[in-house]
């Protein structure tokens, strides 16, 4: 009942149409300004998939555009944050306006929930969160608790442990460096929460910088982060993480991120105008890239990365 090794290459439009239903629990890869699934997120916004629950660890711009597009009712994550570039502002505004339910966890909390589901387990113990309001603001009882506190039954001393329920996204989106048509893929550099989240998900869409030959991973099995068994769709989208960075490929685009944060903070017409120009009008991600990024700029971002690795 794993996914077969068939040819899963398709456009972002087809992948989102087929695998992202309205109301989905949407797992999101990437972290802060690194390797966010921008092309796939923009396509979800373009298709107006609604009533989404977005889950992940450090959610940033790829989550923020979905919230800013009015498509998200709930997030479960560690943080909504671009670090030096500020909070995810549409997310913050929606939370402050009471339009968005935000379920807070620590990063390890979220990673543990994905780990549980990736191993077919109903829950995972954790020793973080204890004593904090991340737990006290949640329900510990009833038929569908957010968490459970128990004593460690293997300790003679009294030792509370928290159990967090497994989290299995309906569909996850990730952007990676290399994939083959069957869905084997490789993440280079840090892999955030993605290996566990992807293996926990009912469906997975992977976009990638580079499609490799079907024999590539069979010749380099040590590079495979996740085998094809978990993957439903493969989208070839160079610069698909832009304007965030993709390790070994290109640096993030400071100017674009700063401009996004400016309009996201401003909201209103300025933000609507960004969505129109970045997502609606271009029709697809290559159209967005053509609007946002010159060839010269591409070369600069590649060079900047080259100097840092």
């Amino acid at each position: 009942m794993g996914k077969s090794a068939t040819n899963k290459l398709m456009s972002a439009a087809e992948a989102v149409e087929r695998f992202v239903p309205d109301g989905a629990v949407l797992g999101m890869g990437g972290q802060s300004i690194g390797r966010c699934p921008m092309a796939l997120s923009f396509e979800i916004a373009r298709q107006g998939k609604t009533d989404l629950t977005v889950v992940g660890c450090n959610l940033a711009m790829s989550m923020d555009v979905l919230v800013g597009s009015g498509l998200v009712t709930r997030t479960e994550c560690g943080t909504g944050n671009l670090e030096r570039y500020g909070t995810a502002f549409r997310w913050r505004a929606a939370a402050e306006a009471g339009e968005l339910a935000v379920a807070d966890y620590s990063h390890l909390g979220m990673a543990s929930r994905f780990l549980a589901a990736s191993l077919g387990l109903p829950f995972m113990p954790i020793k973080s969160l204890l004593g904090s309001d991340i737990l006290t603001t949640k329900r510990a009882d009833g038929p569908d608790p957010d968490y459970v506190l128990m004593g460690n039954p293997f300790s003679i001393e009294s030792e509370p442990v928290a159990l967090l329920p497994a989290l299995s996204p309906d569909v996850s989106i990730v952007h990676v460096q290399k994939a083959d048509a069957a869905g084997n893929f490789a993440i280079e550099g840090f892999s955030t929460h993605e290996p566990e989240m992807v293996k926990a998900s009912k469906a997975v869409i992977v976009s990638c910088e580079e499609i490799v030959d079907p024999e590539y991973f069979r010749e380099n099995p040590g590079e495979t982060t996740v085998p094809f068994l978990f993957v439903d769709a493969v989208v070839h989208q160079p610069f698909g993480g832009y304007p965030t960075s993709v390790y070994r490929r290109y640096e993030h685009d400071r100017e674009h991120v700063v401009e996004y944060q400016r309009v996201a903070r401003a909201g209103g017409d300025e933000y609507a105008d960004y969505l129109r120009r970045a997502i609606e009008e271009p029709g697809d991600f290559d159209g967005f890239l053509a609007w946002a990024l010159t060839d010269d700029k591409k070369a600069v971002l590649r060079d900047e990365m080259e100097r840092l690795i």
Binding site: V102, S106, L108, S112, P195, E196
Partner: protein, 256 residues
């Protein structure tokens, strides 16, 4: 006397809290600079672990994100959130973690989640990220922050990352594996440390030229006041030079 800025004093003092050989969980900003400074001076064998996964990177100045390629440079492994926060931190291998927050209270609890009622937030902040994990599992916790009264309320609106919660044994009772961590809060005015008997903050050192009264005035809760409070040693000219030239050469975090 050396000319230095308040942020530089904070970074230098924080660096002094890192021992050679320490495994240090660190994000970006001033904490990262403190780590880089320690590594270039008295703690060459300090080992960075970044929450995103990298182990022992040779960090290039000046990273602005935990996803920055500069924090992966020369790492011996790249890892994941699970390997760093679970496999190193919760596993009990960290010595020191750096934390921050919009609010720090009497018990050194930190709030980076929400100002006001969590159900109806006045200001929604970014949230925990890995901070709760770092605070839960680190034997030593370092907090660098500017000293402003609004940052030091009697009680955090929301405890994102546990300090001593509400008393000396509260961490132990709630099940945290590190029941009695050392916690130091390094500000531009002073260094505060947790008093283990009460689980509350007291002033351990004062910045040169600063009096206890000024610190208390800018703090929203009553601080423990020892009889004698030594001064923070000002940095030497060499150290300030190193900081400006090598640790943050672009002045990304150490602006005027």
């Amino acid at each position: 006397m050396t000319d230095y800025r308040p942020d530089e004093l904070m970074v230098v003092e924080a660096a002094r809290h890192i021992n050679d050989g320490d495994v240090v969980l660190v994000g970006t900003g001033l904490p990262m600079l403190a780590g880089l400074l320690a590594q270039r001076t008295h703690a060459p064998n300090m080992c960075y672990v970044v929450e995103t996964g990298p182990v022992a990177p040779r960090v290039l100045p000046t990273p602005i994100s935990v996803s920055d390629p500069r924090v992966m440079h020369g790492a011996v492994s790249h890892g994941s959130l699970l390997s760093s926060l679970g496999g190193v931190l919760q596993r009990g291998l960290a010595d020191v973690s750096f934390l921050g927050g919009a609010q720090i209270d009497r018990y050194a609890n930190l709030n980076s989640t929400v100002i006001g009622d969590p159900e109806r937030p006045k200001v929604r902040l970014p949230g925990s990220g890995g901070a709760n994990d770092l605070a839960s599992h680190s034997p030593r916790i370092l907090i660098i922050t500017r000293h402003e009264r609004r940052r030091f309320p009697e009680r955090c609106d929301y405890i994102t990352s546990p300090g001593y919660l509400d008393g000396p044994d509260a961490r132990k009772l709630s099940g945290l594996s590190v029941p009695y961590p050392e916690i130091s809060v390094i500000t531009d005015l002073c260094v505060m440390e947790i008093d283990r008997a009460t689980g509350t903050l007291g002033v351990a050192r004062l910045a040169p030229g600063v009096a206890f009264g000024e610190v208390q005035e800018k703090t929203g809760f009553e601080l423990i006041r020892p009889a004698d409070i030594p001064s923070i040693n000002p940095p030497s000219g060499d150290i300030v030079e190193l900081l400006r030239r090598e640790v943050d050469p672009g002045g990304i975090y150490l602006k005027g």
